[in-house]
Symmetry: C3
Subunit: 316 residues, 3 copies
Amino acid sequence: MTGEASLAAPAESGWVIAAATLPFPPVDSSGEHIQDAPAERWSTAFAQVVREGFAWVDLTDSWLRPGDLSPARVSELAEVLRQEALRPAAISLIRRSVIDPESGLDNLSYSLRTLEVAAQLHCSTVSVGLHRPLTSRQREALWFWTVDEPHDAQDPETWALAVERLSVLGRHAADLDLLLSLEMYEDTLLGTAASSVRLVTDIGLENVGLNPDLGNLIRLHRPIEPIEEMLELCLPHTNYWHMKNYYRIEDSSSGVILSAPTSMELGVLNYRHAVDLAIRHGFSGAFCLEHYGGDGLGVMSTNLRYLTAILQSRKA
Amino acid sequence: MTGEASLAAPAESGWVIAAATLPFPPVDSSGEHIQDAPAERWSTAFAQVVREGFAWVDLTDSWLRPGDLSPARVSELAEVLRQEALRPAAISLIRRSVIDPESGLDNLSYSLRTLEVAAQLHCSTVSVGLHRPLTSRQREALWFWTVDEPHDAQDPETWALAVERLSVLGRHAADLDLLLSLEMYEDTLLGTAASSVRLVTDIGLENVGLNPDLGNLIRLHRPIEPIEEMLELCLPHTNYWHMKNYYRIEDSSSGVILSAPTSMELGVLNYRHAVDLAIRHGFSGAFCLEHYGGDGLGVMSTNLRYLTAILQSRKA
Amino acid sequence: MTGEASLAAPAESGWVIAAATLPFPPVDSSGEHIQDAPAERWSTAFAQVVREGFAWVDLTDSWLRPGDLSPARVSELAEVLRQEALRPAAISLIRRSVIDPESGLDNLSYSLRTLEVAAQLHCSTVSVGLHRPLTSRQREALWFWTVDEPHDAQDPETWALAVERLSVLGRHAADLDLLLSLEMYEDTLLGTAASSVRLVTDIGLENVGLNPDLGNLIRLHRPIEPIEEMLELCLPHTNYWHMKNYYRIEDSSSGVILSAPTSMELGVLNYRHAVDLAIRHGFSGAFCLEHYGGDGLGVMSTNLRYLTAILQSRKA
């Protein structure tokens, strides 16, 4: 498959809407690590995803790390996906920053391995970000995004390193006919709309774009950029899209700002408008539905019906 | 059509549930003002409303001001509505107070013009309120209702002026076989249940009633009147009904009060109960679904299914 | 019917999902007390429950107190339930603590009478708790759970009294082939997972278990035990289950904690996971759907569809 074909595929065959494996825990109730579990355990999760109506999956590596599987195990993964008739749209790497001061080079290496596996699985996209591992204080909190975390350094050297290493990934992705998507996340070099656009522009590769996961930003208990401005700036550069939504409460007199996870339809981000705007800007990538808090799979399934209805209503 | 027929129509033909055009922006993404746009642009919005299941629309003037259209353009509006098979139930005037110290007389004149157009479009109802234009601080806020705004003066002269000018509107509405509905809104003479009932009683015209848009009040980040008491007082005087709902968080120990927009089913106002109570009090007007924040049209569509189910369940 | 048969019934005939009569007021809009109303009034409520899709009901005594009905009236109740084809799964006694310092003995006597009626109505379960009547300050609040309330004494005498009196109930329930379920509720001896398990263990009767109504706990505006730990501890002892869900907002920097009632799917408690875990722990009791705030019946109906889908997806 050529790069062109890969890019055009989603639009030709209808939209790709993938379920993130984010709601599945990396260690199951019996204490077994999913990474080392027999492929039948993976099947159980995939079957649930399929029962909720999904035809595509994003192999989010908070559950399973395809890039750390042996070739034999990758074949097993491909086989159980095939058996469940679930197609892998993408692999999303979470908290594996290539500029992490401690593990940046390891993460680069892991990301490169993941690109190889993504190509073997016929994914169209790999998503990476610059956010760091959760701190122990974050892990103790009900909502980790309400706890401060390490910030990316703002100096030119860090910027250059990010451009360089993400370019390495981008070029390797291109060689493999893959899109590389950069996930927006607060307090990283992908933490504002302007910085995200500048980073993707500095990288300057056709197959590298943004993953405007604005849910990460609108849930913050602090002032944010206007949502409409973020959409206008980022959507023209978008090639993959993690979607989730939040209620956002702001009290102008006291300055209190709070959020709560909710369905795509009910949250503050108007996805009907955002999707329309993205498509007008030429977006043809895959959508990936995520949800943290409560029944992630259930809300993702509700969101699948919602997003499908929005996309169908555009065609009518 | 006689006034009697106009009043009876909704009940005869099943309930009228209109979509407010509130979710549509007055200036579209290409910078074009809807007011001056070709009628095909109006059609696009109406088609969306129809696709979401609505047979009726409330021409909310935050989107399009029918009262400021030329006769030729009003005909165009009637024609595109006919083409989309969407019937106009009402025109709602937003922030066009006839006692606004600056623009009260202009608003009176505009409201009178709007009544004429409403009659030409065969609407049953025109809704007006006493709330003022959003201040710049309100426009900057995520939720404008958390920012203080101009209050109506509480003196007898202002009250008399409100009664006089709304009576002018009411009598002209009656001449045109229209209902005039007064929208409840905080910090205006229609800001409490008692004041609203007194105002509509002082006006004393059969075709003038209340629009108990309690969503305006229950979303305030300050103490409110008990919802049940507002319903009991206002529903007997109700002739039109803007509906939207909110989560309402109150913390008794700290006094914190916060809200977030949500669906009619999930919010703090029990619409199943309120609708039942209204009908027992003889309500036979039209319902109008609104929603601010996020995907207004999507939530309104969800609310249409909810309200329809409630009304059907009463008949069963 | 033997005790064994009674316990096995729900599993044999598919899961029992009951609607609580909690959303119905004890005094209707005409001022009539439901307790003294003609049975046709009860029918009206039951018909609504049936229209919302329920085949089973929990006679929550905040609406109607079956234990205070005369034998003739109990027959009337059975008859209208039969006419509506609504089967009574359980009776839930609310705020009728058998260790209430003021009314404990009266409540014990009332609870014993209720067991008799539950058996006559062919319920499988009676649920009781140790929470006290709402104080006047609680009744004035929008959300009573944000106001402090009387706490159970923590001394050994109170504990022994609870064990003794609940054992009296449990043994009488066993004689009648009924399950007795103890509802978890903050600031009572059933207020933490550990205390609840210890209490049910100290009682030590096979037909006495827990009702892990964790909605009562997760809505509190103060720190709570980790939800997962509560589930792990309590589900193995669960024989009945009041279900409702809440958004839970926690701000780690300010310590602000707030909640709002929402649907089972959208709230912080992952019921898909919890139900799966319960069934793995051998749960075979009835589910009872509750909801406070707004349209309780509507949200319960939405929750019925959600829970049914979860249970079906487990079988698939």
